[in-house]
């Protein structure tokens, strides 16, 4: 009989993230589909009372917590120790957590301490014939596998965006606080804050409905024999501001930007989508002046509706990678798009 532990980090405001609430829903469904399974929520943060209230009615049989100042910020040593303590206390056979930066950093190491196997970036958890099966991607979203393991404990880190977040009513629940043994050595690392890259404004918005990708074509010589960097920058930023979309880029363009050339200064490596960049999740994506080469497009795996504007009718997007390719000058199109958006 499986014993499930769902690990959740509590943020500085005492809240759970959207990815955390998605994991709650996943754990709830998993517990329901495994006969005889029990499940517990394990909270880690400075204070877990509010978070426990937030998910009091999710159906978990037990709410455990490791709290205190030492656990306020995401840090390997303290998070791994908290995860280990919660897993031992709950005697979990299946340890679930959102694959966010906090648990991706700390949980694989904690798994090793527990003698557990670990699989990360899980896209789906299912039960077939009483056995837990997971789906995940290999080779940067090019190959998809359905797989399982017999050994326990088994740690599963689940990617965000695959399931609706749990959205039940808040309530009251008993919270069992585990004694936290804080080691002095943890203070070798101190989290001092959060920093946005040196750009004027935040243009990466993971929750936006639209991803707008700018490719290196924006910097290339245009039919008049000149490049139009200033206008390109204006058109891109104007569109991003008007639509509140998330801005992405190709590798070629961010590399031009970071090699000190006077190109689009608001782009950093964090904007890069693709094989060696990010794989964001948005319902829609619009690519402009981007060729749509495979190493770029693997980063579009989780973009549902895709359109592209490119001068080249034979570019990558035309080869079954976009739903619609407009063969046109992106400068002219985006100028008009921005005008229509007002």
């Amino acid at each position: 009989m499986e014993k499930i532990l769902l690990l959740l980090g509590v943020d500085a405001e005492g809240k759970l993230s959207k990815a955390g609430l998605e994991a709650v829903e996943q754990a709830r469904r998993l517990a329901c589909s495994l006969p005889g399974a029990s499940w517990a929520v394990g909270l880690v943060g400075r204070d877990a009372q509010d978070a426990a209230r937030q998910v009091a009615n999710c159906g978990a049989g037990k709410f455990l917590a490791v709290t205190g100042d030492a656990f306020a910020s995401p840090r390997y040593a303290s998070d791994a120790a908290a995860a280990e303590a919660l897993a031992r206390r709950s005697e979990a056979t299946l340890i679930l957590a959102p694959a966010d930066s906090r648990w991706m950093r700390a949980l694989p190491g904690a798994a090793h301490r527990l003698g557990a196997a670990v699989d990360t970036h899980i896209a789906a958890v299912e039960v077939a014939d009483g056995a837990v099966q997971v789906r995940r991607w290999y080779y940067r979203q090019r190959i998809e596998a359905q797989q399982t393991r017999r050994s326990r404990p088994w740690v599963l880190l689940m990617d965000a965006g695959n399931i609706e977040p749990w959205a039940g009513e808040a309530g009251e629940t008993a919270l069992e606080a585990l004694p936290a043994e804080v080691a002095e050595s943890w203070d070798r690392t101190k989290v001092v804050g959060v920093e946005a890259p040196e750009t004027d404004e935040q243009t990466i918005r993971p929750d936006a409905g639209l991803l707008f990708v700018a490719g290196a074509g924006w910097t290339k010589k245009q039919p008049d024999g000149l490049s139009h960097l200033e206008e390109a920058a204006e058109l891109i930023l104007d569109f991003v501001r008007k639509t509140k979309c998330s801005l992405g880029s190709s590798k070629s363009l961010v590399e031009l930007s970071s090699e000190g050339q006077a190109v689009l200064p608001f782009l950093t490596h964090l904007h890069q989508v693709g094989q060696t960049g990010s794989t964001p999740r948005h319902p829609k994506g619009l690519a402009t002046c981007c060729h749509g080469e495979e190493p770029h497009v693997v980063g579009w795996r989780f973009i549902k509706e895709r359109r592209a504007v490119n001068l080249d009718p034979n570019c990558g997007w035309a080869q079954g990678k976009a739903d619609v390719l407009y063969v046109a000058d992106a400068f002219a199109v985006m100028r008009e798009v921005n005008r229509l958006l007002g």
Binding site: A19, P108, R113, T148, S185, V191, A196, S258, R301, G320
Partner: protein
């Protein structure tokens, strides 16, 4: 730090991203069709880690860089022909599969064992580097386990910058949600850093460094021990290429005004 760092970079090899990949079922479970024939590259994020390691070593006299790689040695040799020309390092080769379908835990045990066996490695000065995720398994789990086995509990993932402060401590930037960095202060080595892109461009090929490196790389490859992965930890039920091909509608004869109108309507849907 007066006598520098001992930096061990863990880096696998992966198929060149421009290659088409097709899964097949082999005797040891899933594999890639013609895996041994596909041109390979050093795993991209781990390659960034290597360049960052070399840069750090250059600026901290007395430092040394090792590259630990678990991969089929014949393929690793091909990759070394270019990578050896980039920056100075000493290779520690483990002969075994470069496949993404192996277990991260098993791989970590093999890598940690190889690191423990490096002669003269000073654990108090040790920095274990690697990519924060491979382009094959893409788990982002191996380095943490290597660190645990080596007893290192100062660990960072998605690192874009490691800055040495005047007192020898580190300022480290890690990628977190929403396109921002978490900033940490760390007292110094030992530490584990899984790198994202970092800040350095790919170094140009330098044949002289290549020749120097290759003198030690060839014996390291010849003496590569089998990694001893038992396999069988993961049961694969299905491995497939998703149907990604879309019916692309190529629209050539609309004016920019008409296209803009369509796009705006689509965005607002």
């Amino acid at each position: 730090m007066s006598n520098g760092y001992h930096i061990v970079v863990c880096a696998g090899i992966v198929p060149d991203p421009l290659q088409t990949l097709e899964p097949v079922t082999g005797p040891q479970g899933p594999a890639l069709r013609n895996e041994m024939m596909l041109p390979a590259v050093l795993d991209p994020w781990a390659a960034h880690a290597l360049y960052e390691a070399a840069h750090l070593a250059r600026n901290a006299p007395g430092s040394k860089v090792w590259l630990v790689s678990l991969s089929p040695k014949a393929k690793l040799q091909q990759v070394m022909m270019t990578i050896a020309q980039k920056v100075p390092f000493e290779l520690v080769a483990l002969d075994g599969p470069a496949s993404g379908f192996t277990d991260a835990g098993e791989t970590a045990v093999a890598l940690a064992r190889a690191i423990q066996a490096i002669p003269g490695l000073d654990r108090s000065r040790l920095l274990v580097f690697g990519g924060w995720e491979s382009a094959s398994r893409g788990a982002g789990a191996t380095l943490q386990m290597v660190g645990e086995i080596l007893g290192i509990t100062d660990q960072f993932q998605g690192v874009d910058a490691l800055e040495i402060q005047s007192d020898g401590s580190f300022r480290i930037l890690e990628r977190i949600e929403g396109g921002v960095h978490q900033v940490s202060a760390c007292a110094g080595p030992p530490a584990v850093l899984g790198w994202a892109t970092g800040t350095l461009p790919e170094p140009p090929n330098q044949p002289q460094i290549g020749m120097q490196n290759m003198r030690a790389i060839m014996p390291a490859l010849q003496g590569a021990q089998p990694a001893g992965l038992a396999g069988g930890k993961i049961e694969f039920l299905e491995v497939r290429i998703p149907s990604v091909r879309r019916e692309t509608q190529v629209i050539k004869d609309l004016s920019p005004e008409e296209i803009a109108k369509e796009i705006v309507e689509w965005i607002k849907e």
